[in-house]
């Protein structure tokens, strides 16, 4: 069930995956819409297994064929034809029903690769017994990723960390001379998702408005195989509520909620922290995670908007 095909690397033109316009093969960005073009593999020969969608297509075809064959066999009274039809029907049902979606496999791989690091971070937070929630520091610029500062004491006054901290590689930070204003500066778990989002959109998130975020984020998350296209972003006075239906990473979200609750509550899971970072970048405000919940595949994230960077 494998198909081997050859990819010609000397194609003189290739079409844009967004607008469909033709571009020269050596171009990296679409001349029409400016989006980054996908690169062909260096390998001249690629192998492609039949994916779940192909399984479903073949399965539906065999299912219909089997049904027709078994009815036909029944009508003409030839049992082997009917049996062949029933066999095809069973096989068709299996082809449609059995193969696991690729998104589920990707989710499993994501858990296997990243869970130990998240558990270490959870243990780190527990050992230091830090209670306050992290503050996402807004940044501007394509590819720049917000960092998250977790104040080390509850008694610390409301901290507004300087934006330049987002470029710092230090972990333990003291803001000013007040020893109360200490914190831990972390790269958020969803930092790479924010980067991927910007790379895919070829857009600096700090240049768009919050009401544009819903459409842009929905498109990018769908392309990344994270969620369905419809992403709800509700803006209130000092809060933003983001709602989406996940197609992958559900297992990771659920496992982190049970095995690393402190990390999820204070910093966020990879996805919730990506959303918090994106909102922080778009609004130019310090953002704190208020609440995140997952119900089946529905993820709801509520963020608290704090002060502007300029203030």
């Amino acid at each position: 069930m494998t198909i081997t095909f050859r990819v010609r690397t000397d194609l003189s033109e290739r079409s844009c995956w967004i607008c469909g316009s033709q571009n020269r093969a050596k171009d990296h960005f679409c001349s029409n819409c400016g989006v980054q073009l996908t690169h062909l593999s260096q390998s001249k020969t690629s192998r492609a297994f039949i994916g779940p969608k192909d399984f479903s297509t073949v399965g539906i075809f065999i299912l219909v064929l089997g049904t027709l064959l078994s009815v036909f066999g029944y009508l003409i009274g030839i049992v082997p034809v009917m049996a062949l039809g029933l066999g095809a029907l069973i096989l068709g049902v299996m082809l449609v029903f059995l193969p696991e979606p690729m998104s589920s496999k990707a989710g499993t791989l994501a858990i296997l690769c990243s869970l130990p690091s998240f558990l270490d971070l959870e243990a780190f937070l527990q050992d230091l017994d830090i209670a306050p929630r992290g503050i996402y520091i807004p940044v501007a610029g394509f590819g720049a990723v917000p960092k998250v500062l977790i104040p080390m004491t509850d008694s610390a006054p409301s901290i507004s960390p300087p934006p330049k901290l987002a470029r710092s590689n230090r972990v333990f930070i003291t803001l000013g001379r007040n020893t109360n204003q200490r914190g831990i500066l972390l790269r958020p778990p969803g930092a790479e998702i924010i980067s991927a989002l910007e790379n895919l959109l070829q857009l600096d998130l700090s240049t768009i408005k919050l009401d544009e975020l819903s459409g842009r984020m929905g498109f990018a998350f769908e392309m990344l195989g994270i969620s369905k296209r419809t992403v709800g972003v509700q803006m209130e006075e000092t809060a933003v509520r983001v709602q989406m239906s996940l197609v992958s990473l559900v297992d990771l979200e659920e496992r982190l909620r049970s095995e690393a609750p402190r990390l999820v509550e204070q910093v966020g899971s990879p996805l919730t922290s990506a959303i918090a970072g994106a909102v922080s970048k778009v609004t130019g405000k310090y953002v704190r995670l208020s609440d995140s919940s997952i119900n089946g595949s529905n993820l709801i994230v509520t963020l608290e908007l704090l002060a502007d960077v300029s203030k």
Partner: protein
């Protein structure tokens, strides 16, 4: 060949081969009872499943559902045959 195929693909290929072989062999033996074919399909399903397992956890869950359905069909056929013998 097996190294380039996923287990689920081997499962489908083997099961499709067994189903068509069963139909050819049983029709050559002039078997005209549909329940014999269905019982053979059910048994073959479990044999191929055992031979190609383990599959992914998600696939294994769905295989169990199909397995239970085929087992119900198989049990029905066996009960019918037993009742025929008892009459």
């Amino acid at each position: 060949m097996s190294s380039s195929l996923e287990k689920i693909e081997i499962f489908f290929l083997a099961y499709a081969f067994l189903i068509s072989s069963t139909v050819i062999i049983l029709s050559a033996l002039m078997v005209t009872q549909i329940d014999v074919y269905l019982a053979a399909f059910a048994i073959e399903y479990f044999v191929v499943l055992l031979a190609t397992s383990p599959h992914n956890p998600g696939e294994t869950r769905r295989e169990r559902i199909i397995g239970v359905m085929l087992l119900i069909v198989f049990t029905g056929i066996v009960i019918e045959r037993v009742l025929l013998l008892l009459k």
